[in-house]
Symmetry: C2
Subunit: 303 residues, 2 copies
């Protein structure tokens, strides 16, 4: 199955205690698309400016990402500048320049409208709803969001969520959305808003997935060299959604494997700046790390 992703394609300037990236390719849709491309056909919907570089488009294209929905608009590409301290969990945003993203109104190309799986990356929930309105009954809709939209566009976000099958959200944002400090209760409260599946991302602590009567806990892979956490959540979403689209299996067992593949893609992504690590990853390496994940969490039942 093909996955349609709508979100940002950006130039990021990032500093971490371990290095820096200057105007490097980033954005939620770019991270998602490259991660998902290891599993299935990906269709990207986003806008960039006149300054967008051909080499960045080429990287996505070489991984089979369909760029017919990537439009070049008059103006500059979206830019984000941030820095991380040693804990690497939350960046400090130094500057945001919306550029062409400010006036972004999505027009889903005809060739994308039959996409069976849709991922609404972290953008304005009104745009998320508009995109859904231009697709023909996808089998699975997954979605991300952030504190900014929870504060500023709560009603629009609630409307989007009523049409979403799986919400992927940070722990702090799950608490903020539901005013519920306990994560188990927060997940149940989100399920009451629509999404049958709630995946709560906890950065270096992994992810929890809540479904009907089932909870799954996936650790983050313990890494010696985390260079840049930017895009970890979007790479996670790419592995998660891409795997589900490939298998066309939305059972609880498949969802658990999907969370594990999400963790695999996030763990690879943070080992270098920008999309560099994913760009040099092979399918074999993805499978090997999946096996290492399995060993990381394996323990035997008792008799």
């Amino acid at each position: 199955m093909a996955v349609l992703v709508v979100g940002s394609v950006a130039f990021d300037t990032v500093r971490t205690p371990f290095g820096a990236g200057e105007e490097v390719l980033g954005g939620s849709a770019a991270y998602f698309a490259l991660a998902a491309s290891f599993f299935t056909e990906v269709r990207l919907l986003a806008a960039v400016g006149e300054d967008f570089r051909e080499e960045d488009a080429a990287l996505l294209r070489e991984h089979g990402v369909d760029l017919r929905g990537l439009t070049r608009e008059p103006g500059r590409t979206f830019r984000w500048e941030g820095e991380y301290g040693y804990d690497l969990n939350n960046p400090r945003t130094l500057r945001t320049e919306l550029g062409v993203f400010a006036g972004f109104r999505p027009r889903v190309p005809e060739a994308y409208r039959d996409s069976e799986v849709v991922f609404l990356a972290n953008i304005d929930p009104e745009i998320q709803s508009e995109v859904l309105g231009q697709t023909r009954s996808p089998m699975l809709v997954a979605c991300d969001t952030m504190n900014f939209w929870i504060e500023r566009k709560r009603d629009a976000l609630i409307r989007t969520l009523s049409r979403v099958d799986a919400l992927l959200i940070n722990d702090g944002e799950a608490r903020q959305l539901t005013a519920e400090p306990n994560l188990v209760r927060a997940a149940h409260a989100i399920r009451d808003l629509g999404p049958r599946t709630v995946v709560i991302k906890r950065g270096e602590y992994g992810a929890l997935m809540f479904r009907d009567g089932s909870v799954f806990s996936a650790p983050a892979y313990p890494l010696e060299n985390v260079l840049d956490p930017t895009g970890a959540g979007d790479s996670f979403a790419g592995g998660f959604t891409g795997y589900l689209a490939r298998t066309r299996d939305f059972s609880d067992e498949a969802m658990r494997r999907a969370v594990s593949f999400g963790s695999v893609m996030a763990s690879l992504n943070v080992e270098d700046f920008s999309l560099r690590r994913l760009a040099r990853t092979s399918r074999r390496e993805v499978e090997e790390r999946y096996g290492a994940f399995k060993h990381l969490t394996h323990f035997e039942t008792i008799d």
Copy 2:
């Protein structure tokens, strides 16, 4: 195998957003002993004051804990007073009254000296070493510590660690002990100090175990009702050490099961104040939660 534990037996006054406990039974050795008693014979070494309550001794005795090493000294029992905010990860200590614990010099009873497994709970590392010196070559020595000893008695702690097989330590304290922000590297640095097995406790995020070339990640059980996290780490240690002592198996597979039983006991303990939840736990309930843990982390390999 019998487990010898040395540590504190205390009266705690605790406030959390969900309630309070006033002068309730606590202390690292008490939590450890009750948790370990579900698995094996436990021998407790500690001092209490003249104000110690017979009902508290009776609770431990009913669970088969050997109290021949619990001495009653002139003075008051150790008291700790603290409160937790909504994040429930780190308490604020409001008051500490050492009482008889200030002059505590351990004398290991003759009947305890052949203990094959020893747990050195979080006390002065000089006392930990003294206790080890009074035992006859135990097969497994596990140990806990805290920021206070890392700061104040670093050299004594390093000497203790050189004789320890398994260190159980918080993530923040692992970083502090090794001056290494990355947990994987911190664990390797601790292994260089002596312990072949390093278990890093991360509160509501679970635990990581590092051994020769093997890493195991265990989540914390996601709970809707955490009333009081006091004693979670000591209950974890009780499940971990108690299970190893029962099975007499120190292989990697057994250690992974032991970490999981540690998580089980901690997850039960935090569901009520003091030792109340463990006091009303059955072995069957421990096994059921172990099964739930298995399901919580289960995902299939891919072909």
